[in-house]
């Protein structure tokens, strides 16, 4: 194992230096001071006397220099520092790499955010982090690189995100592994520790959610636990940043002061230990071909029958003998224990954990039913669970529309006033049209729906942080199984209500490749947040009294279509049986206000940023396409009719007219066609394009009306057309970002083309049925 404490160490030098030349993070020995006796006395009395070792904790090149000597921090002015003679002794490690490893939902990302000051997405359900993330922090002159790994239950990687965690630990070999352990579920969480302990990398255990454990009647003597496991154990409350300082101190102490962080080796019993030693010996005969992996760990994995290990040993000269020995050992152990070696090893590990826990944990109350159990009695009930699920979803969309209504009206008014102001300031002409119709009409049309976005993401954050999302997956498991998927597939689908990109990525939690592909193919029907402005615009325009309900119906339609498509895909392209469902139900937690505000604020900022870049750019381009070529010929006396004529003969108008025969059966005119087409870049652009269309088109006295009012008064729209439009927007191909991620995640152009073509064809077919069916029923 590499020891950066040594690799980053510079040898001692006889050369004298001055303190002002000292490097940040390095340790030196004080030689003496050029100065009078009073000055010397003063420094000596503060602990900086000749022969003492100190470390530089601040030296920015200007201003005082910070040093740590005798556990005291001193700031010394540069003038004084130039008089202090020092001898460079040891340059301590300035860079430490730590990996945060632990079970899913143990709070790794919360601790990562706390340490690095980032705002990576966290939620109360397993599988939120599916890709490693890296950040860094400066701690007392050192740079600590932090790797946040996806959650894993073991090092026998069962799913792709577990493989990432496993490979990262084994191949990158961080200086320290910080094992994040959910204190309220300590025994299960320590199982991973027993596997990490085999890797020979120093470990520190962060006992996260200590408050929750205490509330559950668990009193953990962390010092005793640490002594038994052979590693420092730090109690923490990640979301309150408690224990963070202690963790950092332990990390530094582990690397620099040789504090013992090497776990006590686990004994698997005389028989198994003997077989392990035998295989280990064979492995070490060709040490170059074990690629730096710990030989005992490899031996253990071979006995467990871990397939990927064979790849690591592909070039080992003794491979054939090793395999034979492993087979014999497995057979022998099976005959001794009467069960598979994996079960024996698992039992031994749990035995070890159980022993350590019984010596260090006291239970103050017999655990029977806690609040989570009581809530779950209702929320995962086969019947009432579904009812609650429906109610919660309905409430989310009802609030998204109704709570935001007043702020939306205010922003609409502000945008109207801004248009009037711009019209008054700018002279009538093309520049005024660009600003008023293109920029304010387009971007303003999207910005007005910011309150809806905020409420939707706040609701999603609450559902995620409380732990309800995992319950939703559990409830849906029954339905999902019937159609050929399992409840775990519902997690990416729920994430899809926010954005399809993380949804595609979170499908990594699904182990089976076929299940994962099917899930990704239908995740797009979970209406993402970017589509929300379109729904709010259209529902608000045509169903002002029941907009929340209509929106809810669109989301439900998305789920129903997804269910139908899964069934279809399972019967055709992706035949097979779904894998069994094993998922942890996290305890309910009260979300912190900070987390909710962070979550909502981040999404809202991204929405505003998008409106200020992509949507602004697109609005200007769409305005150009709708305003050029310029027609100066007056054909109609009426200004409104003339504007409509000009628009129809613009570039966008001509392009739109080309597509009109195709979309006419759906009840759409060319303007809707242009809006739908522009949604390829981002779904919000559908709204900004409509804003620009109505801005350029409408030169009558109605120009002070909001976009919703203009839509309502447009004779091209009926409620049936509006609903058909919503159905099409819900189902047609995802935006460009989502498609790019889909391609990366599947690694297959064939799957991407299938995704684009079938979603768009389905959108067309269903919209056609809705519109033509509605007409037949006399609805439009």
């Amino acid at each position: 194992m590499k020891n950066p404490a040594l690799t980053n160490t510079e040898p001692a030098s006889a050369q004298e230096l001055r303190l002002n030349q000292a490097k940040l993070g390095c340790s030196y020995i004080m030689i003496d001071l050029d100065g009078g006796s009073k000055l010397k006395e003063k420094l000596y009395s503060m602990g900086l006397n000749p022969g003492v070792k100190f470390r530089v904790i601040a030296n920015s090149g200007a201003g005082p220099i910070g040093i740590e000597v005798r556990q005291t921090k001193l700031a010394i002015g540069r003038g004084m520092a130039a008089k202090i003679r020092i001898s460079e002794e040891v340059c301590k490690q300035t860079e430490i790499t730590i990996a945060l490893a632990g079970n899913p939902n143990s709070g790794k990302t919360t601790i990562f955010n706390g340490l690095t000051g980032t705002n990576q997405h966290v939620a109360n359900y397993p599988g939120v982090t599916v890709e490693k993330k890296e950040g860094q922090l400066n701690y007392e002159g050192r740079v600590i690189r932090v790797i946040d790994l996806p959650g894993t239950y073991s090092l026998s990687a069962n799913s792709p995100e577990e493989s990432i965690a496993c490979n990262e630990i084994i191949e990158r070999k961080p200086d320290i592994i910080v094992g994040i352990v959910d204190a309220s579920n300590i025994e299960r969480n320590l199982y991973l520790f027993t596997q990490l302990a085999e890797l020979g990398i120093p470990i520190i255990i962060a006992l996260n959610m200590s408050d929750l454990a205490r509330n559950r009647g668990l009193i953990i003597d962390h010092r005793q636990l640490g002594r038994l496991l052979g590693v420092p154990v730090i109690p923490m409350i990640g979301n309150k940043k408690k224990g963070q300082e202690e963790l950092l101190e332990a990390i530094v102490a582990c690397v620099e002061k040789d504090i013992c962080c090497k776990p006590t080796p686990i004994s698997y019993g005389a028989e198994l230990d003997a077989e392990l030693a035998n295989i280990k010996g064979l492995l070490e005969q060709d040490i170059a071909q074990i690629n730096g992996y710990p030989s005992r760990w490899l031996a253990l994995k071979l006995i467990e029958g871990d397939e990927p290990i064979q790849r690591i040993l592909a070039n080992h000269s003794q491979l054939a003998i090793i395999n034979q020995t492993v087979q014999k050992a497995r057979a022998k152990l099976r005959s001794i224990f009467g069960e598979d070696t994996t079960s024996v090893i698992t039992d031994k590990r749990y035995g070890y954990i159980s022993g350590a826990c019984s010596e260090s944990i006291k239970r103050t109350a017999e655990h029977r039913h806690d609040i989570s159990d009581n809530i779950d009695f209702l929320l995962i009930h086969p019947f009432w669970g579904m009812v609650f699920f429906g109610l919660i979803m309905w409430l989310m969309f009802y609030l998204t529309f109704n709570l935001a209504e007043k702020p939306v009206e205010l922003i609409e008014k502000a945008m109207g006033a801004l248009s009037v102001l711009a019209s008054n300031i700018l002279p009538a002409g093309i520049l005024q049209s660009l600003v008023v119709d293109g920029i304010i009409g387009g971007v303003g049309g999207v910005i007005v729906f910011l309150p809806n976005i905020m409420i939707l993401f706040l609701s999603i954050a609450i559902l995620e942080d409380t732990g309800y999302m995992a319950r939703a997956a559990f409830i849906m498991d029954r339905i999902m199984h019937k159609i050929g998927l399992h409840g775990k597939s519902f997690i990416p689908m729920l994430v899809g209500f926010g954005c399809s990109v993380p949804a595609y990525m979170s499908s990594r939690i699904i182990e089976d490749k076929t299940d994962r592909l099917v899930t990704m193919h239908v995740t797009t029907f979970m209406s993402c947040g970017a589509r929300l402005p379109v729904y709010v615009l259209v529902c608000g325009a045509f169903w002002p009294q029941a907009a929340g309900n209509v929106m809810f119906s669109i989301y439900v339609l998305g789920i129903l279509v997804a269910v139908g498509v899964v069934k279809l895909l399972r019967m055709t392209r992706f035949k097979g049986v779904s894998a069994p469902f094993v998922m942890e139900l996290p305890p309910y937690r009260v979300p912190t206000l900070r987390s909710l505000i962070l979550h909502m604020g981040e999404r809202s900022l991204q929405y505003i940023r998008k409106a200020g870049t992509m949507i602004l750019g697109f609005s200007i381009i769409m305005w150009f396409l709708m305003s050029f070529p310029q027609n100066h010929e007056i054909i109609f006396g009426d200004e409104g009719r003339q504007a409509a004529y000009n628009l129809e003969h613009s570039f966008a108008g001509k392009l739109g007219k080309l597509t009109e025969p195709l979309i006419k059966p759906l009840g759409f005119d060319w303007r809707m066609g242009v809006a739908i087409f522009s949604g390829f870049a981002a779904k919000e652009v559908v709204v900004s394009t409509m804003g620009t269309v109505y801005g350029v088109d409408d030169k009558s006295d109605k120009s002070s009306l909001t976009l919703r009012q203009r839509l309502r008064q447009d004779p091209a729209y009926s409620r049936l057309t509006a609903y058909a439009f919503l159905v099409f927007v819900l189902l047609y191909m995802p935006c460009m970002s989502a498609m790019a991620v889909f391609l990366r995640e599947t690694g297959s152009w064939k799957e991407l083309l299938f995704q684009i073509s079938y979603t768009t064809a389905l959108a067309y077919a269903l919209t056609l049925i809705v519109y033509q069916g509605g007409k037949l029923l006399g609805l439009g």
């Binding site: 990576q120 997405h121 982090t129 890709e131 993330k133 792709p160 493989s163 990432i164 490979n167 002279p427 002409g429 093309i430 520049l431 660009l434 993401f457 926010g498 954005c499 399809s500 990109v501 993380p502 990525m505 990594r508 182990e511 089976d512 490749k513 076929t514 994962r516 993402c528 947040g529 970017a530 981040e602 999404r603 991204q606 929405y607 998008k610 870049t613 992509m614 602004l616 750019g617 697109f618 200007i620 381009i621 150009f624 870049a681 981002a682 935006c735 460009m736 970002s737 989502a738 790019a740 991620v741 391609l743 990366r744 995640e745 599947t746 690694g747």
Partner: protein, 53 residues
């Protein structure tokens, strides 16, 4: 009037550049709304391909 046209064309050209850059950025799977965007999932893709799921 000519000045207005010049300004408008300049703005449209800048917008076209911004949008093109954004679209190129997005085509790499970035710039989506509200997510821990994938800087790279190439590593993951390789992993899937290497595994017999």
């Amino acid at each position: 009037m000519l000045l207005q046209y010049l300004i408008v064309f300049a703005v449209v050209i800048i917008a076209a550049i911004v949008v093109t850059r954004k679209l190129l950025y997005q085509s790499k799977g970035r710039g989506c709304q509200g997510c821990n965007c994938p800087g790279k999932s190439e590593e993951f893709r390789k992993l899937i391909k290497s595994k017999e799921h």
